[in-house]
Symmetry: none
Subunit: 512 residues, 2 copies
């Protein structure tokens, strides 16, 4: 073995007392983590080499290496090749140890079905050989409505305001002088420049301490969710999803073989006490910024509770921040991914709600330990995303168009929201419109399913598109049918005059 | 114990046999060093985390860490923060220990093997929960070489000839006056106009009696293959693939849980009599137009035999026609999809070999009964492909650019092929170049693996890229090692002067 040069001891380990009867690396990890969090180990402090610290503490180097690995994985320390290990720059928000209450709740039984209204559970989407021919089991994803945008389509931003002229110029510029190297096979994790731009954007706009290396470019949020499902779920595993919730996410998990557990959403977000009862469940899919479709913003207490759940069960949280750019009142809460100190959160982002849906460009922000597995899987699935969309978006961001456009889109969505709130009629059987502090849609309760369906049909008759809240529930929900009724209204898809005209037609249709 | 991050096992340590009576870390160091020197561990290969390798070999992590330290100190490996440890780029001059062995295996689980040389079989790519934490099993898809195109890169067409100015104009035109309806969510099967154009093209150029409704647009051929794998294969099902063959297809089937059966390829194509012996196998993946990588064109008799097999077992044939546009002599044979009368063939097509790889645009032609299942699965995976690439390609085809470009590309590939054939040196241990009637590459036999590796290393020294045929075989092949040796040469990637210059350098390098 080579004799390694002696290294310095840049901090005093004297205060670290380890109990030899217990796991030494765990204790060391905790002692160092505490010192980072309370500032005794300041950001930028160089840590001793593992062999030196082991020698100083009289423990095996192995224990030190494991403790360092854990701290590294959690972002408390960082290393530079040939230059040792340093205490990382941390946001000073620590993670309180939240105690979970243990309310009673039963795991929801699940049904197997292939109706488009009935989410198939725990069966994969396959063309299966059966006898001499085949039968097809499949998942019918409810297709988003097609046709030109109209009031009150859900999930569509004010993309009539997108600077298409700028986008056209950037596209033409890319194609006129392409770098031939870029046109060969690329990195399955995505365009390096775009990954850097996204990381910088999330650091400044969301307070996420992420690096470009943690970003994996996807073909929209749906591919991000689907990748999480494929990589985190074994057939038969339980997965907690919000109920009501985003059905296309449920489909992606079901296709991966998940047993879906619909978990209720209260005014703080997903019910973590109900999740604690799900013994087979170590993956949760949530929309904390603006719950889809109810619009609830997950409270900080609930966010911390959810993170504590993931830590306790050794699980993963898929955080879908599909419309997090749209916040109208108050300071936005930190995403789970920014609060996460355990590398338990997989963050799903998309450009579809800022630019337009058909762009199919999104990204994942992953715990560093997961990046390689996701990139590899993506390579097997699709190699990588189309090159020009990524390069053009990177340039769009670098030139400042993206930030300007977000501000423009936020103003437009706010104005269209106000237009809907001001012109909304009082209708029998329909509750009061909620305050809308975020997102691109709102949900209002209706007395019964029958009334919900009637209102939607009357609206459709006058060319107004309204989604029924009842269609966002899992088919096996225990919530009484009439309590599932409501109207989901997207307010950003069309300009104010079209909103006003639609409201006028609605008032007429609903008066009859 | 802290929960340690799940890590990869990017190469197969199966051949590493350690004698427990002697210093383990020294032996490991020597074994790894030998593999780096003789090329089994190629530059850029990611090494497993020390804990994973220790666990795989049944030795202490300390021993692995010491071996890694030594290799690091000597420059054989290098680390990147947050990105693991990699085999370093070595000057290929010093190659003292050149012998390749066919060591016996220590019986490590196949699932752990993820080396680019060793195809993992029958295990899915998952982040799996194990106890309180997780481990990652994954498939390392060999990444296609990056950097600017050079002689004799495989899989790259003459895309320096692509009419980028036309493409730029069509892109700009699309974006300047976008149809807002097109920018909402679209059909998961793809742009209707493009599907029609592709069907018309295949009817006229390939004699396929297909309709637009049978076409599903994909993000390149890889996604087409991957979709077939996901939808046709149940975990544990046998899948017949050509051996040697296209490894990335094998990976896609393995990720879907397939048990891969490598089937020999003779001068007529895949050996159907061997397939008849595979009782668990009802899916076959083949490249009939130009077998990848051997270049064999499947005979008509063999095509019919293969179709009869599929009909008999009630199975499916995935026909990858990756470079079917390139045919230089004689009339092209009808694709299996054109001969199929039973709806048993799924045809995989791509624009990557006519335009350029990073376009990521391809398609499936499916038996009508399968279209809906594939479109639905695609919707769950990704919703649909990016809109402008599809619309621009449709316009490119409608305006006649596509057909003109194919003719240009075929002429260019033929001229570049001739340039290679004419200038190819006579080299000891290398067989005669074959007649090349199709495709973008050729394969020539070499006497032994050692000679193959030597020639490739010498070529690399003079900046010439050559793939070894040995890397296209499944790891469990029964064909003797030396019979797997050969050189795979892509001839289309660079223009004639660059080919001539590369041949001149090769003659010099191989003479010494």
């Amino acid at each position: 073995m080579p004799n390694l040069p002696p290294l310095s001891m840049p901090f005093n380990p004297a205060g670290i007392a380890l109990d030899r009867r217990q796991g030494l690396s765990r204790q060391l990890y905790q002692a160092l983590r505490l010192r980072v969090l309370d500032g005794r180990l300041a950001s930028g402090t160089r840590l001793p080499a593992s062999r030196d610290l082991a020698s100083a503490l009289g423990i095996s180097r192995n224990s030190v290496v494991r403790a360092y690995d854990q701290l590294y994985a959690e972002g408390f320390i960082e290393g530079r090749v040939g230059d040792g290990t340093y205490v990382a720059q941390l946001a000073q928000a620590s993670t309180p140890e939240k105690k979970l209450s243990t309310n009673s709740s039963t795991g929801l039984p699940t049904a197997l079905s292939t109706n488009w209204l009935d989410l198939p559970v725990n069966s994969s989407s396959k063309v299966i050989h059966s006898g001499g021919f085949s039968r097809i089991e499949k998942h019918h994803l409810p297709r988003p409505p097609s046709g030109p945008p109209r009031a009150f389509r859900v999930g569509v931003p004010a993309f009539d305001l997108f600077p298409f002229e700028v986008w056209a110029k950037l596209n033409a510029a890319f194609w006129r002088k392409p770098d031939l190297q870029q046109l060969c096979y690329g990195d399955p994790a995505g365009d390096a420049r775009l990954r850097g731009m996204i990381a910088a954007y999330l650091r400044s706009s969301r307070g996420m301490q992420c690096t470009a290396e943690q970003i994996v470019i996807t073909s929209g949020a749906q591919q991000g969710i689907s990748l999480c499902a494929q990589l985190l779920v074994e057939p038969g595993d339980g997965v907690a999803i919000e109920n009501p919730g985003y059905r296309a996410a449920g489909h992606a998990f079901a296709v991966a073989g998940a047993k879906l557990h619909g978990v209720a959403v209260d005014s703080d977000g997903i019910d973590c006490s109900a999740m604690a009862q799900l013994s087979d469940c170590r993956v949760a899919y949530v929309t904390p910024s603006h719950q889809y479709p109810t619009g609830v913003v997950m409270s900080l207490a609930r966010r911390l509770e959810l993170l504590a759940w993931a830590e306790r069960v050794g699980g993963w949280i898929v955080e879908d921040d599909y419309d997090g750019e749209y916040r109208y009142t108050g300071a936005p809460l930190a995403p789970l991914a920014a609060l996460d100190r355990q590398g338990r959160v997989l963050y799903v982002g998309t450009f579809g709600k800022v630019a337009f849906p058909a762009l199919r460009l999104g990204y994942l922000v992953l715990p560093p330990a997961l990046v390689d597995a996701f990139a590899q899987r993506r390579a097997v699935d699709v190699r990588h995303s189309e090159v020009s969309t990524q390069a053009v978006m990177a340039e769009f961001m670098a030139a400042g168009h993206f930030q300007r456009h977000i501000r423009r889109m936020r103003r437009a969505a706010l104005s269209r929201r106000n237009c809907l709130l001001e012109g909304w009629p009082t209708v029998a059987g329909v509750g009061q419109l909620p305050a809308v502090s975020a997102g691109l849609h709102l949900t209002v309760a209706v007395d019964s399913i029958a009334r919900e369906q009637q209102l939607i049909a009357q609206a459709a008759d006058v060319d107004v598109e309204i989604n029924g809240l009842s269609s966002y529930w899992l088919p096996d929900s225990t919530t009484p049918m009439d309590q599932r009724a409501g109207l989901v209204l997207g307010f950003a898809a069309v300009p104010e005059p079209a909103i006003k005209a639609a409201l006028s037609r609605l008032r007429q249709a609903w008066r009859d």
